[in-house]
Symmetry: C2
Subunit: 327 residues, 2 copies
């Protein structure tokens, strides 16, 4: 499967490879030009590690249209910077030592530096967006930071509440994950010169892959192996975070599942594993696959009204990639 | 003296009282319209407590010119929100329980909420600035967040280094304090319709009162009574932060003062008090007053080239107010 995914990502990135190179260059230039103490911090977080999916969405959305690529490249850089800033703060508030095999900023420099440096990266991203000169895009960017922060806050305030309806979950994962995908696509489309109905179509596509992306993450937390995840299986339950599979478990066995007790006494002793077993021995996993597949199919379908071109084909493959990542 | 200061602030705020009321209204509206968990947090931090000096600078700078007041009011609200966001994060990284007699957000809700909520307030401020539709102003706003964050970072990285030249101190207090005063004035002037040379004059004025403002704070830390400060006298030294009076002490008695030892063993036992005594028994305090007086005089002088009006007179009185706060 890994090889299949590698081929897929290669085909997704093919039409924008040179532009993604410009994004990397823009990001790397930051650490060369800044205040002395910031250089090592910027170098550390900007070292290529992530998949750069979000900036790719911006560039591909713009790439459907004939507009100049300069503003989309600036915007894609800002989108990635914003993503990095949220990771810095999320790891800090979660006390996470590692992310994808690499020590976190809060682990190496401490929370004091991580909070302030995260602020610095947020603001740097905002200055990038200002370079586009497009107020609509700048506003959307700021609103997205509000979404991301309020999504994480709601997750925190809702933790250890076993009674969560699906719409609460949907709203939360929209804010904390899909919102940035939407903004990545919308801003790329606007800056690429898309007509307004196409902007909305691309935003809709991105909403769907963003929701699917988070649902895949949530499902992997239940099914994945802890080494690949870099955290224990069932970590969400341990942290009191309800996700689609555990909400389904509550829906099906409202009075006969270990989640209520787990959240009450917060003593995992076997309860997390029992919940995971119940999920794996039911049709819940298949049903989650069904929901994710639905989002990815809808995402592909949304694109069909757009002009056929290499960028559109890449966005289609990206929807497949997100679906296949769940397996 | 307090009564004198009260009269001064009344005369400073007189020409913009209705507009400051609109700023308060705009801020208070935030907590009514937002996601459920954010309401109480917003209510708490927006409850009138601060002096609202920074938004007053924005409104007074704009008030010199005949432009519409709507955008300056929006901008003034954003400036105050930005200030509040930085306080939320500063208190979090400093583990401060109290600020001006009120429990901090990190104290009441914990650092997890404080970090994310601070992000939310930063972003909300940015959406306000977007409402002005002025990209220059939006960019300056983002750059100011970079200044504020990097100023706090530099303070952290420079802590417990006794060998700090005055220009390092100046750069640091510009970033962490004067930068936002500059932006408050510059954006007010731009949105009020000031000609470019007046914008620069008002920025220059604000730079000077901003530097003086921080120097007064730093001097009060040495001389004030701990109750009025809400923290122990000599707190900066205890935290390893060099300020103008302690830099002067190092300049005058490079080999014969307790700061080097204090920063090496970080055991206050009498060393902080000895340093404070040496400062108080020398001309250092008078010399600091001289520097502050100079900044405030220069600030007043800068304004003389601007059209005489009630707003300009208020800005003059504000410079006096900052000077007199030091006594």
């Amino acid at each position: 499967m890994a090889e299949g995914l590698d081929q897929q990502t290669a085909s997704i990135y093919a039409p924008i490879q040179p532009l993604l190179g410009q994004v990397e260059e823009r990001l790397n230039n930051l650490s060369r030009t800044d205040a002395p103490y910031l250089g090592p911090l910027l170098d550390y977080v900007l070292a290529k590690g992530g998949k750069r999916i979000r900036p790719a969405v911006t560039l591909l959305a713009a790439g459907i249209y004939p507009g100049d690529s300069e503003n989309p490249v600036i915007m894609a850089s800002a989108v990635e910077l914003l993503h990095l800033a949220t990771l810095i703060h999320d790891d800090t508030v979660d006390n996470s030592d590692m992310r994808r095999g690499k020590a976190t900023v809060t682990n190496l420099w401490g929370p004091h530096v991580a909070v302030l440096f995260g602020d610095y990266v947020f603001a740097t991203a905002a200055t990038f967006v200002c370079d586009t000169g497009n107020v609509r895009v700048i506003r959307r960017f700021s609103e997205t930071i509000m979404d991301l922060a309020s999504g994480e806050l709601v997750e925190y305030f809702n933790a250890f509440d076993a009674q969560q309806a699906r719409d609460v979950y949907h709203d939360r994962i929209y804010r904390k994950t899909a919102s940035l995908f939407c903004t990545a696509a919308e801003t790329g489309a606007v800056l690429g010169g898309a007509p307004e109905d196409h902007v909305q179509t691309l935003r809709d596509y991105a909403y769907k892959i963003g929701m699917a992306y988070q649902m895949v993450d949530d499902l992997l937390d239940i099914r994945g192996d802890s080494q690949a995840l870099g955290k224990p299986v069932g970590n969400d339950l341990l942290q009191g975070v309800m996700t689609l599979p555990t909400i389904m478990l509550m829906e099906r066995y409202p009075d006969d599942n270990p989640i209520g007790d787990l959240f009450k006494d917060r003593e995992p002793d076997g309860k997390v594993n029992r919940a995971l077993e119940m999920i794996n021995n039911s049709t819940i996993v298949d049903d989650c696959y069904g929901v994710i597949r639905g989002y990815c199919n809808d995402a592909r379908q949304a694109l069909e009204s757009l002009p056929d071109c290499e960028s559109r084909r890449s966005l289609m493959v990206l929807a497949d990639y997100i679906w296949e990542r769940s397996h």
